[in-house]
Point group: C2
Chain length 124, copies 2
């Protein structure tokens, strides 16, 4: 396991455990969390901790795929909330100290496929 | 550059160039392309080639981030279409021959942020 792999593994484990001390220790002071779909940005460790602490609870996440190399990682997260299952894609960059410095996260939602490609696809 | 990095770099370059010969050479015979948001799946090299060939043209993609390790890669793609810019997150797995065997791709769309977190976020 690379250092970045271990860090992102600990990052998701701390979030799932709501272990805010462990989570905070993985973040750079000047961490920036980007949500491009809503054009929102959370700047700084304290704000990102509060953003997660104040978020409505009840969700459980599992890491479906994590790929890491050097200071970069990308994770496909599966998040269960009530009866719903959402996927997220999260791109994480570490700083030179190995702390999480940038996170860009996408929360794609289900939609109906456009017509015209039924002959090439299966539905599941 | 790892082998997976070189393969996914060539994969996006071939798509952007509409170089279907080069693109097809990178795919395993039994490649499967998953679109979890629409629960669509394209199975096999010929179908995936046609899926891309028949897709409405005019888009241009750039690789914003690629992370690769072993047989796994994850890419954050920026796709310009008309005046619009979309992001995609693509998780690729290679087979033992280094060919693309599984692709799971997300196309997240913009949405309005939920209320209640304005004190923690900046908008951009």
């Amino acid at each position: 396991m690379t250092s970045a792999e271990a860090t992102v593994s600990a990052y998701w484990a701390a979030l799932e455990a709501r272990d805010w001390v462990a989570f905070g220790r993985l973040l750079a002071d000047d961490v920036v969390y980007h949500l491009p779909q809503t054009r929102e940005r959370v700047v700084g460790r304290e704000s990102l901790l509060r953003f997660n602490q104040e978020y409505a609870d009840g969700w459980h996440l599992t890491v479906t795929r994590a790929v890491a190399s050097g200071r970069h990682a990308a994770c496909w997260i599966t998040c269960a909330l009530g009866g719903e299952v959402l996927s997220a894609a999260s791109f994480l960059d570490l700083d030179e100290a190995g702390l999480v410095r940038e996170v860009t996260e996408f929360w794609p939602e289900p939609y109906e496929p456009p017509p015209g490609r039924e002959h090439l696809v299966e539905r599941y």
